[in-house]
Amino acid sequence: MIEEVFNVNLPVNETLTLRRNRFSPEDISTSTKRISIVTGIHGDEIEGQYVCYLLAKWLNANQHCIKGIVDIYPSMNPMGIDSITRGFPFYDVDLNRNFPGNTADFLPAQVANAIVDTVRGSDFAIDIHASNIFLRELPQVRISRSTADELIPLAEKLDIEFIWVHDAVTVLESTFAHAMNSLGTKTLVVEMGVGMRITKEYGQSLTRGILNLLAHVGIIERAVLPMTKTTVSNLHSEVFFVNASKSGIFIPILEHNVTVLKGEKLGEIIDPLSGRIEETLISPCNGLLFTIREYPVVYEGSLLARILEDPKEDTAL
């Protein structure tokens, strides 16, 4: 059932509306589990749209399997999506730095507050992001270290390429995921693909993973798939960052999602005017190239690649 969860009138004959599609069994009790699938908080990240579509399509076709509540929220920043804008248009702010929001603040904070209010009470939530327009990402769940024990077992059910346990910086406390985890909703953040694009293979894979998770927690009745993919970082491996030390045009040499060796060439930064190579980028470790720069123009500091180091051998043994 499609429902409106937030409305605000815009100045010229339009209403900004946030919508969800709710799938639920006929009988709902206080013990009925509920999951919220949220995406579109960043308006230029479209990968989640396809996942919402595939999920809604499956649930429409398999209503007899639905034992809990599945709420799908595809467009949490509708004007951002409409204008290929990461932030909230007009205010030029990142909605995902304004949670939990406030009704007495500017419109983006009111929208954030409305999203929290409507998702509040869910047992689980998944916030699907694409990468931004600059980077291409392998599908991954990102979890802050403080919530790792609770969330890793849940994330593993998504059968996703890897789970990145990271040290949260304070700014991440203003994200949707942090706000919901603080309110008792176990919330996972998925990053995959690249901004402004849909990678069908990733969307299909994540949809299967979400259905798997739903089956595990009893929200749908469906066979549980065997796990095949997940790697958890920061238990026996590290993530290495490769940043530009020169400005220029980045030309990658390797494809995304390949294994690289320490010392292997990842790409070059070139200067089209002089015809010179400004910098040659070298892999700092053996591992999986899971992030690669998609947008070629770079400044000093621009992120070019991330590599998940091959698991270290346990020297204690």
């Binding site: 004959n13 730095r97 603040d105 500017f106 203003s174 400005s247 770079v298 400044y299 000093e300």
Partner: protein, 317 residues
């Protein structure tokens, strides 16, 4: 005066980004004060204030070498690239430099800018950041002190501005320049004023006068100036946020700095298609308008005005 390039970032297609500092007095002497201009490229008032301050200090130092006692460093802006394009944030990826502190010298471009700026400014007795508000408002100039800086409210009074706002810290504040200055034991203040995109000389000059007054009272310059205001302390609950209930064309009837009384009409909102009057915004309290929405089209539930309530300000004297 010594003009220095504090640091620079190269670019593929543009001149290098050069962040300039103007140093007065003798480096390494006390008392010392750093004044940093805007990081947002639409904060014209703040650029005006900083540049006029350089002019003022240079002229007086030329006339009297002992004019500056201790050391003053003025950095008129950190982000000339955005000023030259009329953009708020870092041009390539639209990130806000003021959420990157204390910075990371091996991180992304704006983290590196933050790191280099912080390295050059983190060892002063007093630190002042010139800011425009990030939402769409114009406001009367005020000193903002974070809650963690409550112990130096009396120092904030040296500016002689009418209002000292104490800001409740959010996770985002912990990555701001003023917060990190505080952590490193500077007495750090934000001076917030004006309206983005245009020069309000009258308001900007009040801030300029306030900085000169502060430098005099803290014995950084040998100069005579008028006493300013005592500085009314404004706690978060002392401000009434007045929201529109309708959306449409916004016709303001009251301006920043106006004293208003309970029941006074503040603005009217008209239907943007048929011209019907759909709301008259009424003041719910006595007080002074500190902020006013600054655009002629208004959303439903936007904050149209903020009023510092008279009774609250009196209680905080």
């Amino acid at each position: 005066m010594k003009e220095e390039v504090l640091f620079e970032i190269s670019s593929l297609s543009r001149n290098p980004l050069k962040v300039k500092g103007f140093r007065f007095g003798r480096e390494g002497t006390t008392p010392s004060c750093v004044i940093v201009g805007p990081m947002m490229g639409t904060a014209i008032d703040q650029l005006w204030i900083a540049s006029q301050l350089v002019r003022f200090l240079r002229q007086h130092e030329l006339a009297n070498a002992a004019f500056v006692k201790g050391e003053i460093l003025v950095i008129p802006t950190v982000n000339p690239y955005s000023f030259n394009m009329g953009k708020n944030f870092w041009p390539l990826d639209n990130t806000d430099i003021d959420v990157m502190f204390p910075g990371y010298d091996k991180g992304e471009t704006t983290q590196r800018i933050a790191s280099r700026l912080f390295e050059k400014t983190n060892n002063y007795d007093y630190a002042i950041l010139l800011e425009a508000r990030k939402d769409h408002v114009e406001c009367i100039p005020y000193v903002e002190v974070l809650e963690s800086g409550m112990s130096y409210i009396e120092d904030a009074r040296a500016f002689g501005l009418d209002f000292i706002h104490v800001k409740e810290e959010t996770p985002n504040d912990t990555v701001s320049l003023t917060y990190n200055w505080n952590v490193w034991n500077a007495k750090a203040f934000s001076l917030i004023s004006g309206k983005k995109g245009i020069l309000h000389k009258h308001e900007a000059n009040k801030v300029f006068d306030a900085i000169v007054r502060f430098l005099v009272k803290k014995e950084l310059i040998d100069f005579s100036t008028f006493e300013g205001s005592h500085g009314n302390l404004v706690m978060p609950n002392d401000v009434e946020a007045i929201k529109s209930s309708a959306a449409g064309l916004f016709d303001t009837l009251a301006n920043i700095g106006d004293s208003v009384v309970h029941g006074q009409p503040l603005a009217r909102i008209f239907n943007s298609l048929d011209g019907t009057l759909i709301q008259t915004i009424i003041s719910p309290c006595d007080g002074i308008i500190s902020c006013r929405y600054d655009y002629s089209l208004i959303f439903q539930n936007a904050i149209a005005y903020r009023i510092v309530k008279v009774e609250s300000a009196q209680n905080n004297l």
